[in-house]
Symmetry: D2
Subunit: 130 residues, 4 copies
């Protein structure tokens, strides 16, 4: 989906973080973030920084809503629960639409690292008015 690709690659911050869409479904998307040392909170053992998990959750949730409404969907709010440290490797984010609304839509995001659920997030995203 060309629209989603440009959403994913245009923001300067994304060009640094390098999120990649690996699946687009009816009601959601899956993105991944490959590890790089500067995404870490600690080394030996290496864990992702929470800020990276939140940034990735924001991007994934936005992508799920933007794909459904074929338009940008500015993030209104986001909350995250960190369940356990996120070991470095590839970060996988499954974002699923929970409600498409006239003004506000919601998505749930699950964050996995090394196949374990490391965090759960929930976001609200606005519909831009024409």
């Amino acid at each position: 989906m060309a629209f989603l690709e440009s959403e994913m690659t245009e923001p300067p911050f994304h060009r640094w973080l390098r999120p990649r869409i690996i699946d687009i479904r009816q009601d959601g998307v899956t993105i991944c973030i490959p590890f790089r040392p500067e995404l870490a909170h600690s080394e030996n053992p290496g864990f992702f920084h929470g800020g990276i998990l939140m940034s990735a959750a924001d991007i994934a949730g936005h992508a799920a809503i933007a794909a459904a409404q074929l338009d940008k969907a500015p993030t209104v709010s986001l909350s995250i629960e960190f369940l356990r440290p996120a070991p470095v490797g590839e970060l996988i984010l499954n974002a699923n639409v929970r409600k498409m609304g006239q003004t506000l839509s919601r998505a749930d995001i699950e964050i996995l690292a090394q196949e374990k659920l490391v965090a759960i997030a929930r976001g609200s995203f606005a519909r831009l008015k024409v």
Copy 2:
């Protein structure tokens, strides 16, 4: 405070983001994040990416709790409300302790850009057990 300085500079992600402590109070801290192009969500007009605001809120809230308990305080949860776009320049974060607890502490974080309140966040941080 040497402990807080090392908390601020050690994580590899911080070395990229470059948060800087500008005030330490009894009940809180103020940090700033100078703008760099790769922190942006958009250019012309330039706005910070929401992921940067969340990462900075996490760091500021953690710093407020860690300074109060003189120990690391892993982030358990964080929620943020984005109030308006955050124009580029210097990002200022005021983090204030709301509750120091035996196992869980809370901090509120206000995020300002160009002297306007652009987001409010709230986080829970754990006390490490010896």
Copy 3:
């Protein structure tokens, strides 16, 4: 303020819970909930039930926004952090507007029991479209 009074007393649930406005400010309101045994989570020692704190936070946050926009403001989301048990007596809620928006407004709510801060809440409230 007659509008706020009717907001406070009309909903059937409010007639049971009996919230009472004790202050209206430029940017917020204070309400109180007198204790009755059926509001308790436990007796001996007596503590308010969390559901009562959340209900009261919803009502207080709504009142702050409704008073500012002179119109109903349906609750879109609410989050609460329980800081300590809430001893029975009078529950006091200070709700303050953080942002009045075109479609969405935010309020922070502090909940006190026996003069101690027992919980902090934050809500988003919609502006009804004409």
Copy 4:
């Protein structure tokens, strides 16, 4: 499960609200709240009050965690997103454990009214220390 039954019926507020367990699973519980006029936010059309939805979400999430750890689990935080008005009738709450932790556990709660998803909530619950 006798423990859960007493959790459900002992608090004075529960005796008023009357939550009823209708299913206990490995990882969660389902409870229902039958409608009574004093649970309403409005009549004609009749909708449940948001405070009732939050109270019920709290009770359902607590029940899911308490059933899993066979011990009380005081609510630490709860957040809810209201997706649409909740028409009166029977309120159904499906609570599912997302993480059982040493000090903190999490549950997700879906709230249905007339078979439609009306709200989604997420809670953190503490493990009592012996």
